[in-house]
Amino acid sequence: MGWKMWALKKSVWVYHVNVGACNNCDIEILELLTPRYDIERFGMMLVGSPRHADALLVTGICTRQSVRRLQEVYLQTAKPCVVFVIGSCAGDRGIFKAGYGSPAPVDEVIREVDPNAIIAYVPGCPPRPEAMISGVVKALAAI
């Protein structure tokens, strides 16, 4: 997948999936697009369809309703696709771990359909926009 990987690192287009978040991570992601952080200058863009996306930004605890839907969205993306797990909820369900709302964390749900998925974690509740940018940069440097 040499040239595909090379191509992936240029102008990452992201699709945002909220699978049961409290909106904090989501507004911070939108914050990234607005003038103070303005990630579009790095070629990153929010797109409206997973089929256009190089990366998924997943937020939230993956509720029972969203497990199948998240998997479907992941399968629809063009591979290779990087999954950015944004926030503590998506990473390890955070405070909701003890509850009945979520059967499994996001990475397990995605690994169920693709064991070789590339998953990057940005912890925090919510992570600061700077942390998200740094997470994306580090993940792209690592692959």
């Binding site: 945002h16 999936v17 909220n18 699978v19 049961g20 978040a21 409290c22 909106n23 904090n24 991570c25 989501d26 507004i27 911070e28 939108l30 914050e31 607005t34 003038p35 103070r36 797109v47 409206g48 369809s49 939230g60 605890i61 509720t63 029972r64 309703q65 969203s66 839907r69 969205v73 909820c89 955070g94 405070i95 909701f96 003890a98 509850g99 009945y100 709302g101 979520s102 509740c125 919510p126 600061r128």
Partner: protein, 392 residues
Amino acid sequence: MKRTLIPIGPYHPLQEEAEFFQLFVEGETVVDMDVRISYNHRGIEELSSRKTFDQVPYLVERVCGICSASHPIAYIQAVEDIARVQVPDRALYLRTIVLELERLHSHMLWIGLAGHFIGYNTVWMWVWRYREPVMDILELITGSRVNYANAKIGGVRRDVSPDLYPEIRKAADAVVGPIELVIKAVRDDPVLRARLKGVGVLKKSAARAWCVTGPTARGSGLHIDVRKDDPYAAYDRLKFDEVVWDDGDVYCKFMVRCFECLEAVKIIHQCLDQIEPGPIDAMVREIPPGDGCGHAEAPRGETFHFVRSDGSATPVRHKVRAPSYVNIPSFKASCVGQEIADVALILASVDPCYSCTERVAVAKDVSTGKVLWTHSDLVRLSREKTVRMGGK
């Protein structure tokens, strides 16, 4: 004319969160609609009965990331109602400041998104840029941009140093110019006016019938504001206007939010004028048995919390009723008869927050003929289970 069904969601580029709308259209006109929610059900109420009283604010803060001051404060007021705590004045003022800063940031967020929905991304970008100083000041006061964790049972967690007052005033004042600019733009710009005026009218009678709250109700001419009707925190000592516009269209809701931002700035200044040094925590040690209610005016409307204590360390029952829960069904009144192109804006106009709403997983009946669990079905199931368990 032929009736067509347009599904929107659960994952749709228009929406931040997962929710599902079914629009029944004839030509371009919406004739009926249905909303399906609970994709975001996280079981917060159940979880809260397993946390101690002091841990629950951390959890309810995450009911909704944008109302993350209103929800904990409503919960805390419910607990204080049980324990009959006299909260120190300084703590009340500090809570009010955070609540109003939250209202500022939430309303500006909405104004930006409204611009985004009508394809006016300039509005979005500029307003969100002017919102940043508010976020900065919230971070300075509470330590986090969005989850404040500021209020606690009996007071607040952190004091604000008087050195910060000028900064808070500066950040609040910095918002006034841009908001006035937006108000002027909406009044004068023919495009914005045309897209907002007369769109998605929710009449006063309909607003009352659907029991809407917050800016949605005040945009329809209803005088409902918890801050005025049943003052909490320090609102009874502050002078501010209840912003009410009568027409019920998106334009009015837009204006209500803009003017509430200006009121919020006034309130913050008054708080800083009146606040005096003193204790910030009543040091509550024990929560006696009993029931308590607390409510607060979140940016989206009234949020209501009910807590029952049996004298142990955890709440026995904690009920959350979020504003969007009553605002969302009003779509049925405001969307029908409108064009499809306006629906996105009308849906956004109540500032719906689905993560707030999804406390209950009761599926409701729809007109499509699909079999869903109705409330009575669930009650029946529950009763049958009792019989099964008790029958043996």
